[in-house]
Symmetry: C2
């Protein structure tokens, strides 16, 4: 399998992606004005970034706290022998797990968990603990909120 081709961004691509990450519902006209191009050229730039797979999609950022999820936890999970599939399926099924990575090292999964309050931790973790050892850290603050990858020249 050939290595995936890297897409080289120019100054305008970087500007476009940054503007869209500030507000992806911005109008094409406004985008075009900011980058100093015509609207059709701006459309064409976006199409290329999408076709190349750089721009995977346009999402929303939602505040979990306003929806009642006052706590975020980061859970490290090491499944018991033979339980990898079961643990992975559980994490997928429990919607409070909003992200999960499988990693190298002694932990096998690292997952991000939303909780309404600390009382919700135990019932959720009890479901996992049948099949895995876990380590839970509660998020106190977030010095760096999810940001874009570095967009080099």
């Amino acid at each position: 399998m050939a290595k995936k081709q890297i897409y080289l961004l120019d100054r305008i691509d970087r500007h476009l992606l940054t503007l869209l990450n500030d507000n992806s519902r911005v109008s094409l006209k406004e985008l075009a004005q900011h980058i100093g191009m015509s609207a059709p050229s701006t459309t064409e730039r976006l199409r290329k970034l999408e076709d190349a797979g750089v721009l995977l999609g346009y999402r929303v950022e939602i505040d979990p706290v306003v929806l009642g999820y006052g706590l975020t936890a980061i859970v490290r999970i090491r499944q018991l022998p033979g339980q990898l599939q079961k643990v992975e399926a559980l994490i997928r099924e429990i919607p409070e797990f909003i992200e999960c990575d499988k990693v190298t090292g002694e932990d096998c999964f690292i997952a991000r968990l939303l909780l309404q309050d600390i009382g919700d931790l135990e019932p959720i973790m009890a479901r996992i603990s049948e099949y895995a050892e876990t380590n839970t850290a509660i998020v106190k603050s977030t010095p760096v909120k999810r940001r874009l990858p570095p967009l080099h020249q």
Copy 2:
């Protein structure tokens, strides 16, 4: 300080947020058609979700791999005595750290790090290691990509 008021979503709010998270550049007309309302009512719904702080913004999803970041690492960081500010500042300054949470427990920070290849790990971690003990796990796969919080009734 009073507890932040929780915003109760109805069926239409949940539908709107889901549609926007699939494609936040969708037109108001299309949004309105999907939820079975007029365009002005849809605008008003969005405005309320924004004003209530549920909808924090409209972002893009970018594929780091296509930009050359073939590796993701999750780094746990425990600063040496008196070095908390320095460690936090370093993580903020290094753009390859795309997210960082401060957590309870023996680790102090958990951060997500993008790397072009494994050779880039050492120079970045060397900068941190002057001020902290670290533990790095390489992401092998992502069973759950970042998804929306559960949107209950």
